[in-house]
């Protein structure tokens, strides 16, 4: 087919037109091919499955959860503090109320708390990364497009932020702002800005030299239009990949801050907080440490698998290799 098109393309203008139309019927957008490739990757599918499951839990938590996540069960049910899981299917007497992940240190149902925790973790990851992406994109694209001293100043500031181990910097920022979920979220966002600024800057540097940008410029397009209307849409791919993987890191960092008592405050059902408040009980009530950690791991794994799959699917070099 290709050789036919090429042959025709060299002949007459009429045939060339036909050849063009032939080509256009076959054209597939980048996103379509990327999606097709993404759905072929088993690991990406597993990632999507995990995230879909978590999203379902997060949305329908009030319907699925058997108890209110902050309800103390003293006097309501015959349960003890830090009681291990009681599952009827596995031989727990029917007369006792079922708590499949046990009871926590404040006599609350751990399973319900874990379910509601999905909301917080997904929210923290997505919101902080979105914030970092917006700021990072603006800074990175300005630095990459304008270049010169502005580029230098912006990127040196980013270098300074990168010079600190991210968790330590986040701890320092939270200690200035004061502990709390929102402040932890802001700290994580600030810490992750440099990564996005760098990614956007490097792609803008490549894209701005391309002919279509030059064409826009010669047609009289303003800086703002060329930057955000022409260049940025073409630098989205690495940003999406980085963003997906970034959500995983953000969730881990947020959990770490909460674990240290700087993030979400009790009685909020946040996985890191739950783990942190029961960490001294790991030898007597391991279930209170095991389940929240498992939930964090699953969520992070989901984003990591999806991010890796997306990187493979959206990377044109890998796509070429697949097509060979």
């Amino acid at each position: 087919m290709t050789s036919l098109i090429e042959k025709n393309a060299n002949s007459s203008p009429v045939v060339q037109l036909e050849a063009e139309s032939l080509r256009s019927t076959e054209s597939v957008t980048l996103w379509k091919t990327a999606m097709r490739r993404l759905f072929k990757r088993k690991s990406a599918l597993v990632g999507m499955g995990i995230l879909g499951f978590l999203l379902f839990i997060a949305v329908f938590a009030p319907l699925i959860a058997p108890y209110d996540p902050i309800q103390v069960l003293i006097g309501i049910e015959p349960v003890k503090v830090r009681q291990p899981p009681c599952i009827h299917l596995f031989g727990c007497p029917e007369v006792l109320p079922q708590h499949i992940m046990g009871i926590d240190g404040n006599v609350r149902d751990q399973y319900s708390r874990i379910l509601f925790g999905a909301r917080l973790s997904l929210m923290v990851g997505i919101v902080s990364v979105s914030f970092a992406i917006v700021i990072g994109t603006i800074l990175g694209s300005i630095a990459g497009y304008l270049g010169g001293p502005i580029d230098n100043v912006i990127m040196r500031i980013m270098d300074v932020l990168l010079a600190f181990p991210s968790l330590l910097l986040a701890i320092a920022i939270v200690s200035i702002l004061g502990p709390g979920l929102i402040n932890a979220l802001i700290a994580i966002a600030i810490v992750s800005i440099p990564a996005y600024a760098r990614v956007v800057r490097s792609t803008v540097l490549t894209v701005r030299e391309m002919e279509f940008v030059e064409a826009s410029r010669s047609l009289g397009g303003g800086t703002f239009y060329i930057l955000f209307g022409r260049i940025l849409p073409n630098s989205l791919t690495p940003l999406i990949v980085q963003g997906t993987l970034g959500i995983a890191t953000a969730i881990l960092d947020a959990a770490a801050l909460s674990f240290l008592g700087l993030g979400a405050q009790p009685p909020m059902p946040e996985w890191g907080t739950m783990l942190g408040s029961e960490r001294n009980q790991v030898f007597t009530a391991p279930h209170l440490v095991f389940f929240p950690g498992l939930a964090i791991m699953l969520t992070v794994l989901g984003f990591n698998l999806l991010g890796d799959g997306m990187r493979d699917a959206l990377d044109p070099r890998l796509a070429m290799r697949g097509a060979e």
Binding site: A163, L168, F259, G261, L275, G293, M297, V300, N304
Partner: protein, 359 residues
């Protein structure tokens, strides 16, 4: 080569200046009154006025910044009122724990990660490859603190009274007294000064000190205490290193010169280990160098869990206790360490890869 190194060293100065500025800002922005935070809630106004004047806190902010830079440059990191000790002394006490932990964790992740990556790449798409990558994916996704707690539970409680039992906290078993090597050797060193600090620092590295004084019981005990924290800190870098080695090896193994080497009759193992691995290791240098920074972040969490009194833990405690002097100076030291590490990674890259040198 020489000009490159000079240029690279000079280019890290703005970053160092920025770091000093940020740590200075953090110190000034921490909520609360610095005088009462350092001297205690009961400090009277007169005492506080004197304190503020003495530390130049009533001077213009730029002057304060200048004083701060001068102090850091002269190696004076200040005195922590909470511990009533100079910060350098606290650093000498605490840094060895973190350093030892980071180095063992790094050894664990590199020595296991690289072979796993090579095997996965050579046996591409086999069950070994799929299995390793699955474990690597899970490893990357695990919260350090959770892994640490679970390891402690498993090895200290579930495997209790088996040969696999490991201690879940501390650097040495209770009651074990470790004499410093320079004392055992009969060296007489003045109680202060640079030399004393250096010797004290080395003697606090339990593994090295125990070898120097030839006490295998202490060495064994120190190793047993370090295994769990090191696995906890090292698992994420291990997974990253294994994945990087694999993808970098896959790239190299597909290249023509590898085919040529095979075609001229060289053994597969020799091609993989001698021809391919050398080139595949290049990107790993960056990753391993940068992971050392991640180890420091992981150290805050791991040291809290395993009851180790290292840099990470004291930094976290100082932030919550608002010990400005320690927060500022420790952050500066860590960040400068990080910048120097980046410098070494960059320079070693030039040394290892002629292409970078030629550019």
């Amino acid at each position: 080569m020489f000009t490159f190194i000079i240029r690279r060293v000079l280019s890290s100065f703005p970053a160092l200046f920025g770091i000093l500025f940020v740590t200075f800002a953090i110190g000034r922005l921490l909520p609360g009154d610095p005088c009462r935070a350092i001297l205690g809630e009961k400090a009277t106004d007169a005492v506080c006025d004197d304190f503020i004047h003495r530390h130049g806190l009533d001077r213009p902010i730029m002057v304060q910044f200048g004083i701060y830079i001068k102090e850091i440059a002269s190696g004076d990191l200040g005195t922590s009122i909470r511990f009533s000790k100079p910060v350098t002394e606290i650093l000498v006490e605490r840094l060895p724990t973190t350093l030892e932990l980071s180095l063992i964790a790094m050894a664990f992740s590199v020595l296991l990660g690289i072979p796993l990556g090579i095997i996965s790449a050579v046996k591409h798409n086999s069950s070994v490859d799929v299995g390793t990558m699955m474990i690597a994916n899970v490893g990357v996704s695990m919260p350090v603190f959770w892994l640490g707690l679970m390891l402690a539970y498993l090895f200290a409680l579930v495997l209790k009274d088996t040969p696999f039992q490991l201690p879940p906290s501390g650097r040495l078993s209770p009651g074990m007294i470790v004499p410093a090597f320079y004392e055992v050797w009969g060296w007489e060193v003045a109680g202060t000064g640079m030399l004393h600090s250096m010797l004290e620092f080395i003697s606090r590295l339990n593994l090295i000190n125990s070898i120097l004084i030839w006490r295998w019981d202490i060495f064994k005990d120190a190793v047993r205490h370090m295994i769990l924290p090191a696995i906890a800190v090292g698992t994420i870098p291990l997974a990253i290193i294994a994945r990087m080695t694999r993808s970098s090896m896959l790239d190299v193994l597909g290249q023509d010169y590898v085919c040529t080497a095979r075609a001229k009759g060289l053994k597969r193992t020799s091609v993989v280990l001698k021809h391919a691995l050398r080139n595949a290791l290049l990107p790993l240098v960056t990753i391993i160098g940068l992971s050392l920074g991640a180890f420091l972040g992981g150290a805050v969490l791991t040291e809290t869990i395993f009851g180790l009194s290292g840099v990470g833990r004291i930094l976290f405690e100082s932030i919550t206790a608002r010990d400005y002097v320690i927060v500022q100076s420790f952050t500066v030291v860590i960040a400068i360490f990080f910048v120097i590490l980046n410098l070494i990674v960059d320079i070693s890259y030039v040394y290892l890869d002629p292409r970078v040198r030629l550019d």
